[in-house]
């Protein structure tokens, strides 16, 4: 395969990262809000109290704004695979296209159909019927995420497919392997529950806003209670599931986990692996392949990653060396494949099959070969090319290390925040803790930030591969002119920024307006008595 202009590859990566990061501003809130609406409506159906119906209406309206703009930003991404990543689509389209198609046909249609019934079916459906619709909307939203993450799971840990030398593309072998891939499963539960945390903090933060202003207290106090309890369980779950996902990365993506931990040398390089420190702070220097100014906590790394006390973890330098033989095998595989493409002889095919599993490393070496032609590698230049390619097998350590830490520190912050919020809410003492309410309000954007950094950890840590071990990212892009890429990038950035501005405007507008008060505040039982009479807001902190 001819190599694509590196500027086009970088611009394609930037464009996909930009559109995905924009889209992911909306997704977690949708994933979480739907199930929070389920909890609110379930309470309404069980208790029959109108206030819970009003809560479902009000939070549903904010959810609806987010959902509509989230869908608009997501649609373009599926087309990007074809326009900007045509080599990728050719190579793995048979596999990757399946979950994407199911996502569109099953989950998205299901979600869109039931969301209409959810918004407009209040007077047309029975209480249990409408509740069922709300649950199906929530299920549809999360099933959308499931199929996307199944597709992403294949990129992280390709299963259920093999390479076909005749068609020069991956062939889909096992739907079950794809769907039940451990990577897909772990990513789905972690991402979905992270969405629950986002939704819970969104509801809790806006409720805190009302409680501070002593407005809509009956609705806000109940919403705060429900969201804080929803959030504390979800935040504990997301930390636990994140740890399990890290353990899986250790098993199937050793370069990613070593980059996440800033681990250049093996964990037992300076003595026992048991005492290896987990780095709280470090400044990884990718060029020098070392860390500057490390602050570590001893005895934490090995049990955290390996779930054992003494299993050594290979460092990035060791993993680079281990890639050497695979690069040599990959070069043989690609050369044999090219030969087979011309002659279709059994000997070339047999040679290719022998080294097939290392084919991706051959693609990786192509960038460093003379004239990007692997057949021009000779015993004289081979060692230098392999050494250069070895360094290309590891991701950007600084970005991966810090993206992970920001996500993780925020994750633990959410556990603490929700723990205090749930505790004081359960004791009905929120009014004594305005600082907690302000913290909840100002923390609304943080779970979205954590989700973005989680995505960066997963995707930056997967580099240099678009499909781990099989297809390097620089081989996956389309061969567009640079001007086309710059133009479309600016267009996307402008359009998506407009979407975000619209979302923020509508969210602020409807959140400030609050629910339509069908009941005068003093006559509404519950919560109103705890927070006193409505007052004019002190806007100094807004």
């Amino acid at each position: 395969m001819p190599l694509i202009d590196p500027s086009v590859v970088d611009l394609s990566r930037l464009q996909f990262a930009l559109t995905a990061l924009y889209h992911f501003l909306f997704v977690p809130l949708t994933l979480g809000m739907t199930f929070i609406l389920c909890a609110m409506e379930t309470t309404y159906v069980i208790t029959g109290k109108e206030i819970y119906k009003e809560m479902t209406h009000f939070w549903g309206k904010l959810f609806g704004i987010n959902f509509a703009i989230g869908v608009a930003t997501g649609l373009t991404m599926e087309f990007e695979f074809g326009t900007n990543w045509s080599m990728y689509s050719h190579f793995v389209g048979d596999v990757f296209g399946t979950p994407l198609a199911i996502e569109g046909l099953m989950a998205f249609f299901m979600e869109s159909t039931f969301i209409g019934l959810m918004f407009f079916g209040w007077d047309r459906l029975s209480k249990p019927g409408h509740l069922a619709v709300t649950y199906l909307t929530a299920l549809g939203s999360n099933l959308s995420a499931l199929w996307i993450l199944i597709a992403n799971g294949f990129m992280q840990n390709p299963q259920g497919a093999s390479f076909d030398a005749d068609t020069m593309r991956m062939q889909f072998n096992s739907f079950v392997s794809l769907v039940f891939s451990e990577d897909a499963q772990a990513k789905f539960v972690h991402t979905s529950i992270a969405g629950f945390v986002t939704g819970a903090l969104f509801v809790m933060g806006i409720s805190a806003f009302y409680l501070l202003r002593k407005q809509h207290v009956a609705l806000a106090a109940r919403s705060f209670r429900l969201a804080s309890v929803f959030g504390i369980i979800s935040s504990l779950a997301v930390v636990t599931l994140g740890d399990a996902l890290g353990r899986l990365d250790y098993l199937v993506q050793p370069t990613k986990i070593a980059a996440i931990e800033g681990l250049w040398e093996d964990s037992n390089a300076h003595g026992s692996a048991t005492a290896a420190p987990w780095l709280l702070f470090a400044l990884p220097n990718d060029a020098a392949q070392t860390n500057i100014a490390e602050i570590g906590v001893p005895y934490v790394l090995t049990p955290l990653i390996t779930h054992s006390l003494d299993t050594p973890i290979p460092g990035l330098l060791t993993l680079e060396q281990q890639a050497g033989p695979r690069i040599l095998n990959g070069i043989k595989a690609i050369n044999a494949l090219q030969q087979y493409g011309v002659t279709h002889d059994a000997a070339s095919l047999a040679t290719f099959k022998q080294y097939e599993n290392d084919m991706g490393y051959g693609f990786l070496a192509q960038k460093n070969a003379p004239n990007q032609d692997l057949t021009q590698i000779t015993p004289a230049n081979q060692d230098a090319i392999v050494a250069q390619t070895e360094k290309d097998t590891i991701p950007n350590v600084f970005a991966t290390f810090w993206a992970f830490r920001i996500m993780m520190f925020l994750g633990f912050y959410f556990v603490v925040l929700f723990a205090f919020a749930a505790y004081y809410s359960l004791r009905n003492e929120l009014e004594k803790h305005p600082l907690l309410l302000k913290a909840a309000l100002w923390s609304i954007p943080l779970p979205i930030l954590a989700c973005e950094f989680g995505w960066i950890t997963a995707e930056a840590g997967r580099q240099p591969w678009s499909v781990y071990g099989w297809l390097p990212t620089f081989q996956a892009a389309s061969s567009h002119p640079v001007g086309y890429m710059v133009f479309s990038l600016i267009g996307f950035a402008a359009l998506y920024s407009a979407f975000i501005a619209a979302e923020l405007y509508l969210m602020f507008k409807f959140a400030r307006l609050g629910p339509q008060d069908h009941h005068a505040e003093p006559t509404v039982g519950g919560g109103a008595t705890m927070f006193g009479k409505p007052q004019v807001a002190d806007k100094s902190w807004q």
């Binding site: 929070i36 429900l226 039982g525």
Partner: protein, 63 residues
Amino acid sequence: MGKLFKFIGLAAALALAIFLAVVTGDFGAWYFAWLVGTTMIVLIASASAVMFDTQESNSKGEV
């Protein structure tokens, strides 16, 4: 007749739930954990809201 249809519908839902539990339990433990965990989170959150009303009622009763 209505009760019969309701019974058949609920029985079908139960059979589907058992089937899903067996399949996901065997092949997709994480999916199974998500189904059970999400249900639990929703129901506990809902229970906490019900508890809020009970606390309110008790508080008013004491006054």
